[in-house]
């Protein structure tokens, strides 16, 4: 760490800056100390989250007793030091102006066509700390421009001031040292190795921290100037990390998104998916309600569509299944939880659009739903030991990855693959076949047990624990034995919120068990309904809802934002859709569900409503409405209209009102359901087992329309161990076969256990549910060759 502003007791030193005496913690850099008294020293290479490098020399100051001006960004203040900045020292001022003149010698005057123009530190500081006239009359350095350092990132080398912010970010923060300063002197330039583009998941951050316009993005290039844009603080909807974003728009169209400062969550970073994946917000939207007539969906008015939906749902009554998808805001998920119980009178509701298990359901209800924040990003940073279970942070929650990497915590990952991310965190693998996590958890090595028993040790468990029979039970046992804190990290932004507000069978808001009379009475009181009208028996959850639909045991579905490819059994899903009498789909884009629906109601996206996501910590991440004049209605508002059409009332349905109700309900303090304890891992044959998870950049619908982002995704490969490859005759490609089909992919050899093959779960050219009919942990046939 370059500086120390923690609350721990740090000795203070006294320093005089421009005649002002100030006490700062020992180890403070002169540039930060000057900021504290309101003196801004010009800087380019300095960044509070990067190690000092003193590369640009723009921040020269005069330090008493030193013969030459010193760079303030690398000068640690000592007790009794006397510093003079440009405010009081001609030497410092002259030095800074001289450096600025040098920097401008080779910097082109193309500000009018540069994306940074208008928000450029070099523009600003050449005005504030530069000489008004240039004395340079020679030829400026010229490079071919721009060059791609990746499909998404463009580099204009002649604009670069060699501050090394981007290369330091790539090395120190992301751990992807794929860009480096090459050559020397005036030819110094940022470059990539041949054939190895800057395909880092975090590459977009380098654009944001570039103090000049040297790095720009392909998708934003020339699209607008900074002064055109209206900026709104937002929260990222792509995963459960909960990053603060800034959404910039112009004339009703989003032009870009930036990471926004949130020291307790994402610091100043975000991932490329959150930064570049926003085209779906405008492209391909459903704009009007649709009603099925003579087998065809046709546009309809809102009153008609609501009327048709209400009639269908009234006929089905409590024989309805509600799937909410996991991408909803807390308010909307709460709307569905309330709608299912108080209006439809059913408990068949689930927010998980993925493989689930009843053991996981029980674990979530018992240990996670409506619990206060225990593990935070800060706790991860301070933790002496972190055990990852069925969780790959770089792909599934990138901000956790960055924080663990920063913390240099000891990380052990329980899984089948020692991933690139794990290596970058300096972690080690605790090998297990996928699906057999429980076996290893129940027989942890002594050093892991001892590490988990340290105060502050954390277990991070991913949503893939659902695919592991006995996993949740074993996890609960380990937590109880060692005293380690457990945090559940779902993949989608709305999952934790949906769990907390009771969008899961057996749960009422705040973690209340639906089987508990007191819990039902409390909730009924706030909703203003009769407690006897609420279901008292735990309903169907997870895949059971779809399965019941496929057996004609349900008469209606209410489906919000679920993509059928996320569900583990596409055939059963298709049957369920065909056999269920009535389907209402609340969605913004067409999918197999909207195509099968009887009524489609278009809903607002995150830019068109205010709301709250609950990140994996359990921390509320509220965000405001970007487009104030948007006409689209939120899910909860539409559910309120449906409730009215059904002739029932249950509290309010607007965002602010729903938040009030949730605050009134608070968290459940009564008896909770018991933790699962009976699950155990299955015995497995020697066959190849399938390990899989969704990579950060894949074929997800929220990345649609972003070709440059997609081009930076990892190659779609089948990962096997060296021994396994040798056994197969070191093939170029392998064919992996499952129950319903097979895929042929190029082989990559990696640190994966011998009888396991890793495939991306849902990437272009490989979707394990659709293409193989296989699940995580399934036995698969692996053979050499085949046509790719």
């Amino acid at each position: 760490m370059s500086e120390n502003f923690t609350t721990d007791v740090v000795p203070m030193v006294s320093v005089t800056i421009d005649g002002v005496v100030i006490e700062v913690p020992k180890g403070t850099l002169a540039i930060r100390a000057a900021e504290l008294i309101g003196i801004e020293i010009p800087r380019f290479c300095d960044h509070p989250l990067l190690e000092p490098v003193a590369a640009c020399r723009a921040c020269l100051i005069e330090v008493e007793g030193m013969p030459k001006p010193q760079p303030a960004c690398a000068q640690v203040v000592n007790d009794g030091m006397t510093i003079r900045t440009q405010e009081s020292s001609e030497v410092a001022k002259d030095a800074q102006e001289g450096v600025m003149e040098f920097l401008l010698i080779n910097h082109p005057l193309d500000c009018p066509v540069c994306d940074k123009g208008g928000e450029c530190p070099l523009q600003n500081q050449s005005m504030s700390a530069g000489r008004p006239e240039s004395r340079f009359e020679g030829e400026k350095r010229i490079f071919e421009k721009p060059i791609n350092v990746s499909a998404q990132i463009l580099l204009d080398r002649e604009r670069c001031v060699s501050c090394a912010r981007c290369t330091r970010f790539a090395e120190q923060i992301a751990g992807d040292p794929m860009i480096e300063l090459l050559e020397r002197g005036a030819n110094q330039q940022v470059g990539v190795a041949d054939e190895q583009p800057f395909d880092s998941y975090f590459s977009g951050n380098t654009i944001q921290i570039c103090p000049v316009g040297a790095l720009t993005s392909t998708s934003y290039r020339f699209r607008s100037r900074p002064f055109d844009l209206v900026s709104v603080p937002s929260t990222c909807e792509h995963c459960a990390s909960g990053c603060s974003l800034r959404t910039d728009y112009r004339r009703g169209e989003i032009t870009r998104r930036l990471a926004w400062d949130s020291p307790e969550v994402n610091e100043e970073w975000n991932c490329d998916k959150g930064r570049f994946g926003f085209t779906y917000l405008t492209d391909g939207r459903i704009t009007t309600p649709l009603v099925r007539e003579n087998g065809e969906l046709r546009p309809a008015s809102w009153p008609e569509a609501i009327d048709v939906a209400a009639r269908g749902l009234a006929a089905a009554g409590s024989s309805t299944g509600v799937l909410t998808g996991g991408r909803l805001t807390q308010e909307d998920a709460y709307g569905y939880a309330k709608f299912a119980r108080a209006i439809l009178g059913t408990d068949n509701i689930d927010f998980r659009a993925r493989a689930t298990s009843s053991e996981e359901t029980q674990y979530l209800r018992s240990a996670i739903a409506g619990t206060p924040v225990t593990v935070t990003y800060d706790a991860l940073e301070k933790a002496p030991f972190v055990l990852l279970v069925a969780f790959e942070p770089e792909d599934e929650s990138p901000m956790i990855f960055l924080r663990l990497r920063k913390a240099k915590t000891t990380v052990v990952s329980l899984g089948a693959v020692a991933t690139r991310g794990l290596k970058k965190m300096g972690g080690t693998l605790l090998a297990t076949k996928p699906g057999q996590e429980a076996l290893v958890l129940r027989a942890l090595p002594d050093h892991v047990k001892a590490a988990l028993a340290q105060p502050g040790a954390v277990i991070l468990v991913g949503e893939r624990i659902a695919a592991s029979a006995g996993g949740p039970s074993a996890l609960a046992e380990v937590a109880a034995q060692t005293g380690a804190s457990v945090a559940w990290v779902p993949r989608r932004a709305g999952e934790r919120g949906a769990l907390d507000v009771g969008a899961l069978a057996g749960l009422l808001p705040g973690g209340r068990p639906i089987t508990n009379d007191d819990a039902r009475n409390e909730v009924a009181g706030v909703w203003g309904v009769d407690a006897d009208a609420l279901p008292r028996v735990i309903g169907l959850s997870g895949e059971n809802i779809i399965n019941a639909g496929s057996r004609e045991n349900l008469r209606a579905f209410v489906i919000a934002g679920v993509d059928p490819v996320d569900l583990p059994d596409p055939e059963v899903t298709a049957v369920a859709l065909a056999r269920t009498a009535f389907i209402v789909s609340l969605d913004h884009h067409h999918s197999e569900f909207t195509q099968a629906a009887d009524v489609v109601l278009p809903v607002a996206l995150v830019t068109e409503k205010a709301g709250t996501f609950i990140d994996w910590e359990g921390r509320p991440r509220p965000f405001g409405q970007v487009f104030k004049d948007a006409l689209a209605m939120s899910d909860a508002t539409i559910l309120g209209m449906l409730a009215k059409a059904l002739g029932k009332q249950a509290g309010v349905w607007d965002g602010a009102g729903l938040r009030r109700e949730l605050a009134e309900l608070g968290q459940w303090t009564g008896v909770r359901e018991e933790l699962p304890s009976t699950g155990s891992a299955p015995l497995m044959s020697d066959a190849f087992r399938l390990a899989s998870w969704r990579e950060l950049l894949d074929a997800g619908v929220m990345q649609d329309g972003e070709p440059f982002l997609a081009a930076t995704a990892r190659p779609v490969i089948a990962l096997i161990s060296e021994a396994a490859a040798k056994q197969l005759g070191s093939p170029e490609t392998i064919t992996v076969g499952g129950p319903t089909g097979s895929v042929t992919l190029p082989v990559e050899i990696g640190d994966v256990i011998d009888d396991v093959v890793f495939l991306p779960m849902h990437s272009t050219g490989c979707s394990i549910y659709r293409d193989l009919g296989a699940r995580i942990g399934s036995a698969v046939d692996v053979s050499a060759g085949g046509a790719a």
């Binding site: 066509v113 208008g118 421009k145 290039r221 699209r223 607008s224 055109d228």
Partner: protein, 180 residues
Amino acid sequence: MAELPQAVRGFWVTFSTMFKKVVTEQYPEDAHKYPTQPRFHGRHQLNRWADGLEKCVGCELCAWACPADAIYVEGASNTEEERFSPGERYGRVYQINYARCIFCGLCIEACPTRALTMTNEFELADNNRADLIYEKKDLLGPLLAGMIEAPHAMVEGTTEKDYYANLVTGPATVNRGANS
């Protein structure tokens, strides 16, 4: 001498004026005799280089400078197949709303490539707001002798710098003077 009555003195002014030179301009009958001065602030024009490529680079500095928020610009990238201006960037959308424009000329001062200038054209009145928004096609200057309508390639062997230095003198001609 007795004072003439006031009324008669008034009529005398009227009578004597009948023999003075007429200053009234016959507008619009004498439309060729425009009453504007050479530096009058009239309708804008988007200028072209000598080979017909557009001077506008879509930088939006005019829009930024405009105190009446009358100008809307969207930039875009030139491609090798479709080049509208020398260099990388051109103005894909260029609109001036003459219901808002106050003809102050700050946009002209802001323009870094001298793409935007003002003409003496002042007959801009219309009967609806939509037609007062002039698009790029309405604002682009005429194709003078030797100019070719964009998009087309830059003159062979030149860079945008040759254009900015005014070395390009026609669709295939470059003045390689002392500067080159």
